[in-house]
């Protein structure tokens, strides 16, 4: 034990603090790679970090061009992250019951520190995500990036667009104000027009014949757990598939 500590203590006593801090097992366990300023470390940091390993070590130079992608795919994901964090914070203050939901919203806006900003941020990010995901689809189309071998990922993208709409729409009911319930009434009436299974679809969405407590808890659970899980799975497939299809598209 003392033998192992000796170099550390020696460094300390000689005033070599930087070495004392970095040249030990604890530091190296938590910071597995040196600062990525050499090609070796630039590669290692991508291998050794679970978040960065979504990316390859190197990419084509053209892929960096901002006017090619406008970062729209990455920003869609980033908006999802903002929405997850702000959404979890909102969950601490919001109870999905018709008797209290509206009052909780009022409290968020008037009593909770930064509650108003938190709610605004969540709402604007949700609108933003719908817009950015749609723009991302336009970018992919107008650059021909859906073509072989990326047909499958284009299809996954269409599912992600649908899930984004659905996630946003399920959140729309939760404030339980007039805007929310009547927007959802309009929406579920539209779904109720489905041929053959219209009544059943509407019943499934509302949890009854009329919008009420059952509807709120259904949409809440879909909004905070079920749909985020589903969309995460499809996002994982979407990102993984980019790598498998040879990175983001570029000129041949």
């Amino acid at each position: 034990m003392m033998n192992e500590l000796r170099p550390f203590l020696e460094d300390l006593s000689r005033g070599n603090f930087r070495r004392a801090l970095t040249e030990n097992r604890v530091f190296k366990a938590w910071f597995r790679t040196g600062y990525p300023s050499t090609p070796r470390n630039q590669a290692l940091i991508m291998f050794n970090n679970v978040f960065l390993h979504l990316h390859p070590v190197r990419i084509r130079r053209e892929s960096l061009k901002i006017t090619y992608t406008f970062c729209l795919g990455g920003l869609s994901f980033f908006l999802f992250l903002i929405l997850t964090v702000s959404g979890v914070l909102l969950m601490f203050y919001y109870r999905p019951a018709t008797t209290v939901a509206y009052q909780d919203m009022k409290d968020l806006q008037t009593i909770v520190n930064f509650g108003l900003m938190l709610r605004n941020l969540h709402r604007y990010s949700a609108h933003g995500m719908v817009i950015v995901v749609f723009l991302h689809m336009l970018r992919v189309f107008y650059t021909g990036s859906y073509k072989p071998p990326r047909e499958f990922n284009w299809g996954v993208g269409a599912i992600l667009l649908f899930l984004t709409f659905f996630l946003s729409f399920t959140g729309y009911l939760l404030p339980w104000d007039q805007l929310a319930v009547w927007a959802v009434t309009v929406g579920t009436n539209m779904a109720g027009a489905t041929p053959f299974i219209g009544e059943q679809t509407r019943f499934l969405l509302l949890g009854g014949y009329e919008i009420g407590d059952n509807t709120l808890i259904r949409w809440y659970v879909l909004h905070v757990i079920a749909l985020p899980l589903v969309i995460s799975i499809f996002m994982a497939v979407h990102f993984w598939r980019i790598r498998k299809d040879g990175g983001i598209s570029g000129p041949l």
């Binding site: 090609p39 960096l64 901002i66 604007y124 269409a158 007039q178 309009v186 027009a193």
Partner: protein
């Protein structure tokens, strides 16, 4: 060799050159079985055509090969193919390891910096907007008081706008499902040519076709919305039905099937689909599209234009009673 590209072929089209190859192959006697008189020569079956067509084979293999005869057609095709391969090889020498290495950049720091900066820029602007602009929270939900107008969230107002013009099953379910789960996922299986991948508006006519389509679609949609508001499919068919004594024209449930209704389904569907075919015909006439990709630009741009125009119309131009009006009309105000 006689079957290689010769200087006099400069400026010829590939088809002309192919014809010349064929002539020369015939002159060289390729295609006739060896050691037989012309009278008895049966058209020789091409023995395995693959060695002939293989581009890497030296050209002598075609002309001087003893053994089974090679039909003139195959020899000519092989020569044409050789020429193609040579052209590709001349245009694009395989990049050396060093060149390839220079085309690649490290994700750290190049890409992660861009990602981080764009993410922070977005976050700061969202925080800024959140501080300045309040999200709406109106009165407590009351199922007995219907607000007028009642609107869905903005990204569904395109469907709500559509709903005003046709059968709810068509507007609210069938059209969006067919577009989102049918037409959009089908695009890459129809348009497979990868020549323009990685370039914005990759074909020479893409921008012109897309701009034309956007303007055309916007005009058609506005005209159709105005037509339905000012004249209306239902009143028009009603007067035709009255004049001709054909009540089935305005029956919302002919034969008990709502989806056969003229006013709710057939006419609106025609008004949706006919302008698409008119657009494709106009494009063919004006721009003479080169590939299916050009048509795809038009079809997708038409969808984008429809999404935008209908969303704007449903959001800003529909007031009380979902009647069409200017955004500054006092009847835009929500009443209960």
């Amino acid at each position: 060799m006689a079957l290689d590209k010769s200087p006099d072929m400069e400026g010829m089209t590939p088809a002309e050159r192919a014809a010349l190859y064929k002539q020369r192959a015939a002159a060289l006697g390729i295609g006739k079985a060896p050691n037989t008189s012309g009278a008895t020569a049966a058209p020789a079956k091409p023995a395995a055509p693959s060695p002939v067509a293989a581009p890497a084979l030296p050209s002598t293999a075609v002309a001087e090969r003893p053994g089974p005869a090679v039909p003139a057609k195959v020899a000519a095709a092989a020569a044409a193919r050789r020429e193609q391969v040579a052209a590709v090889a001349a245009r694009e020498a395989a990049p050396s390891h060093k060149e390839q290495s220079e085309r690649l950049v490290y994700v750290w720091p190049h890409l992660v910096t861009i990602e981080f900066m764009s993410a922070m820029l977005l976050l700061f602007s969202l925080v800024l907007v959140s501080v300045v602009l309040q999200a709406p929270l109106i009165g407590h939900a009351n199922l007995d008081k219907t607000p007028n107008p009642s609107k869905a969230p903005w990204y569904f107002l395109n469907l709500q706008e559509l709903l005003l013009h046709m059968h709810p099953a068509l507007a609210g379910v069938i059209v969006p499902s067919v577009v989102l789960f049918g037409l959009i996922p089908a695009i890459p299986y129809i348009d497979r040519n990868t020549a323009d991948v990685g370039k914005w508006f990759g074909t020479p006519k893409a921008v012109r076709i897309s701009v034309f389509t956007f303007i055309y679609s916007t005009f058609v949609l506005i005209a159709e919305i105005l037509f339905d508001e000012l004249i209306g499919v239902k009143p028009l068919l009603k007067s035709i039905a009255d004049a001709t004594g054909q009540p089935w024209l305005v029956d919302p449930n002919p034969l008990g099937i709502g989806l056969l209704s003229m006013t709710n389904v057939i006419v609106p569907l025609t008004l949706m689909i006919a302008p698409i075919f008119l657009l494709l015909w106009l494009l063919k006439l004006i721009y003479k599209p080169d590939t299916i990709r050009d048509y795809m630009f038009a079809l997708f741009t038409g969808f984008v234009a429809a999404f935008i125009v209908l969303t704007i119309s449903g959001t800003f131009f529909r007031g009380q009673g979902m009647r069409l009006m200017w955004p500054w009309d006092p009847r835009q105000e929500r009443v209960e």
